[in-house]
């Protein structure tokens, strides 16, 4: 999201249809509420964000936000950010979650899609059941995994079956394991999303092309890798982009499971921002971080959007 594209939207709201002026006016009024809301949540806050990020303002200072210019510090917040090791550690952790979770979710989702691509008895039931995790409220999912990973919880109970002595791993309070537990929760909750999207993509691969490949002597693997996967390219990119971006937003599950802890062991970028906001209350600095992240995500989403609109056109 950047201010420029939204401004263009304001101008372009007049329909270019050669319909009558009444129609034009109607088109304007219909889109007006949405335009206002976008303006309200996106344009105005971002400008405010930019303003505050140039100051050393904090709600504790006792001066209202619009007088934050009294604490103007220019780009200091941004230069501070570059040397903020806690920020970079949080970035790294986010990246780690991303490179572990997204590929696992993708491969599991793809595997499941292969299992579900043709008809078999019970398919509908299995399909609905598999979608349950992604519909569980993320905060509740966080609580579920909090329960599972208690040292006296079922995960250790299960592991005990395979070992001589009862397993007593303190998953959530061990700095080296807490992130694993968080990743497990993310994989559990969002593999169904990958599965859902990839299955829809796989079903849309033309059946006759697959048949043609088989009739030409292609094995299952050759058909899959030379016909099915290449044809799913757009959808795969969409699915990966959605998940990649959402990893940056991961908060609810994680915060309820570990609160970012122990220490900062599971502090991803979202949790970091939240903590700096709520605990350290240096809002000028938070504004700078948030804007920086926004720019990174805008690049990723711009790529995803161009792919998505292509995908929509191809259909």
């Amino acid at each position: 999201m950047n201010g420029v594209s939204v401004k263009k939207a304001d101008i372009a709201v007049l329909p270019q249809d050669n319909a009558g002026s009444e129609e034009k006016r109607l088109g304007f009024w219909l889109t007006l509420p949405a335009q206002c809301l976008v303006l309200f949540i996106a344009v105005f806050p971002i400008l405010m964000q930019l303003y505050i990020s140039m100051t050393d303002w904090s709600p504790l200072d006792g001066i209202p936000w619009y007088r934050a210019y009294e604490l103007w510090i220019g780009f200091i917040n941004y230069t501070d950010l570059a040397s903020d090791s806690r920020f970079w550690a949080a970035m790294w952790r986010t990246f780690l979650v991303m490179i572990v979770c997204v590929p696992i979710q993708f491969l599991l989702g793809l595997g499941l899609a292969v299992l579900f691509v043709d008809e078999f008895p019970g398919k509908r039931w299995f399909y609905s059941t598999l979608l349950i995790p992604m519909m569980v409220v993320p905060a509740v999912a966080g609580y579920m995994f909090f329960l599972l990973f208690q040292s006296g919880g079922p995960v250790n109970d299960l592991l005990s079956l395979f070992s001589a002595s009862p397993v007593k791993i303190a998953w959530l309070s061990d700095p080296s394991l807490a992130l694993v537990a968080v990743m497990a929760a993310d994989i559990w909750q969002w593999t169904p999303l990958m599965f859902l999207i990839l299955l829809a993509g796989m079903i849309s691969v033309p059946q006759d092309q697959q048949m043609a490949a088989v009739l030409l002597g292609a094995s299952w693997g050759r058909r899959f890798f030379t016909i099915v996967l290449p044809r799913m390219k757009t959808i795969i990119i969409i699915a990966l982009a959605i998940r990649t971006i959402e990893i940056f937003k991961i908060f609810d599950t994680l915060y309820i499971m570990t609160g970012g802890g122990p220490g900062v062991a599971t502090e991803t970028i979202s949790v970091y921002i939240y903590k700096v906001t709520q605990q350290d209350l240096i809002w000028g600095y938070v504004a700078a971080i948030a804007l920086a992240i926004l720019i990174v995500l805008s690049v990723i989403s711009a790529i995803a959007i161009s792919k998505m609109s292509k995908g929509a056109n191809a259909r």
């Binding site: 006759d208 092309q209 048949m211 088989v214 009739l215 030409l216 002597g217 292609a218 094995s219 030379t226």
Partner: protein, 364 residues
């Protein structure tokens, strides 16, 4: 090159019978068209030969070897899909080479055969173009080439011309026929267009409602339909079928056609004569056989005159009788409301059993 034998072939989807009791032998190098309206079971038959659908009954043999247990990738069947199923994410060359690659043919051999096939089909100039966006006639040749390059023993074509506009179809028909002569493979061609079947096929198998009704050369099918459906389906317009009652006269048996008059004495074949005639029959004659004749013993009012250029179609009828006549334009044309008197050459009359719909006496 292979002979295909279908014996008692049947396919049920749940309680729906898509195909029943299909018996057909397709000779080595023969061009057979499966012809029928949509839903007649022709595509199901084809898909079973290719292995995309498993039969619920009967057997399919290639050269006396049952292939029901052979997976579709090993049947050696070339299949051209209705929409060609070109791999549009690949180049023309990759499309042509796909089968060879899948079968592990060496790179040099692969190149040689792809180039030879491209030459034959005049695809050489676009070999390295992406297949997406090529015109329909190129796609069609590519689809044929892609199957032909692996030298399948059998070629199956599923309505390959249905996506082509009418003007181009006649070009494609001759192109296809020429290609088949070149490859001299056994070829099964599914179509609902009798013109395609008539012009290209060595033999036509007419199907309806999951049943094989008649197999024969195009002329046999046209001249001697063995079934009312075939009679009506083949020809454009199809054969006229009138209900009639057998009557006797001094000159022999004839058919009383109620308000349409009576037929000339029948020229019955020995077989029909020996078989004996049912009391009621269906009286069939081609619209082209209607012979305007002021002294004709048959007469029907003209309802509508349809001029189609060189010839004119007269829609005749009344009292629940409907018939058509195709006349040359040279003849003085009656107008709507006139009564057309005409005669039919007894040799051209075909009789059918009104209950079973089967031709009486076979060849007359």
């Amino acid at each position: 090159m292979t002979q295909i034998a279908l014996s008692n072939l049947g396919k049920k989807f749940g309680s729906f019978t898509a195909l029943a009791q299909m018996n057909l032998t397709i000779g080595d190098g023969e061009f057979v068209a499966l012809l029928g309206p949509s839903g007649c079971g022709k595509s199901t038959t084809m898909n079973m030969i290719a292995g995309m659908v498993d039969p619920t009954e009967g057997d399919i043999r290639f050269d006396d070897r049952s292939i029901l247990d052979v997976p579709m990738s090993r049947r050696g069947v070339g299949f051209v899909f209705q929409n060609y199923a070109i791999f549009t994410h690949m180049s023309v060359r990759e499309n042509l080479a796909y089968g060879l690659r899948a079968q592990g043919v060496s790179a040099s051999e692969r190149n040689r055969r792809v180039n030879a096939m491209a030459d034959l089909l005049q695809l050489t100039p676009m070999l390295d173009r992406r297949a997406a966006g090529l015109s329909v006639n190129i796609l069609q040749r590519l689809a044929i080439g892609r199957s032909a390059v692996v030298e399948p023993a059998i070629f199956l074509l599923d309505e390959p011309l249905s996506n082509v506009d009418a003007a181009f179809r006649s070009v494609m028909r001759s192109e296809l026929k020429a290609l088949q002569r070149q490859f001299s493979q056994t070829l099964v061609y599914v179509t609902h267009d009798q013109l395609e079947a008539m012009t290209m096929a060595d033999r036509i198998a007419v199907m309806d409602h999951g049943k094989l009704l008649q197999v024969g050369t195009p002329l046999e099918i046209y001249n001697n339909p063995q079934d009312v459906f075939v009679a009506r389906f083949i020809g454009s317009p199809g054969m006229n079928i009138l209900e009639g009652t057998i009557a006797s006269s001094d000159e022999g048996k004839l058919v009383d056609l109620a308000s349409a008059g009576r037929s000339a004495p029948l020229a019955l074949s020995d077989r029909a004569a020996s078989q004996g005639l049912p009391e009621k029959v269906l009286f069939g004659f081609r619209p082209e056989q209607v012979n305007p004749d002021p002294n004709g013993i048959m007469a029907l009012p003209v309802n509508f005159v349809e001029r189609i250029g060189a010839r004119t179609i007269l829609h005749l009828g009344g009292d629940g009788i409907e018939a058509k006549a195709v006349l040359d334009n040279q003849i003085a044309m009656p107008s709507i409301g006139d009564i057309l008197r005409f005669s039919i050459d007894p040799k051209m009359v075909r009789l059918f059993d009104p209950v079973s719909g089967i031709a009486i006496g076979g060849d007359i």
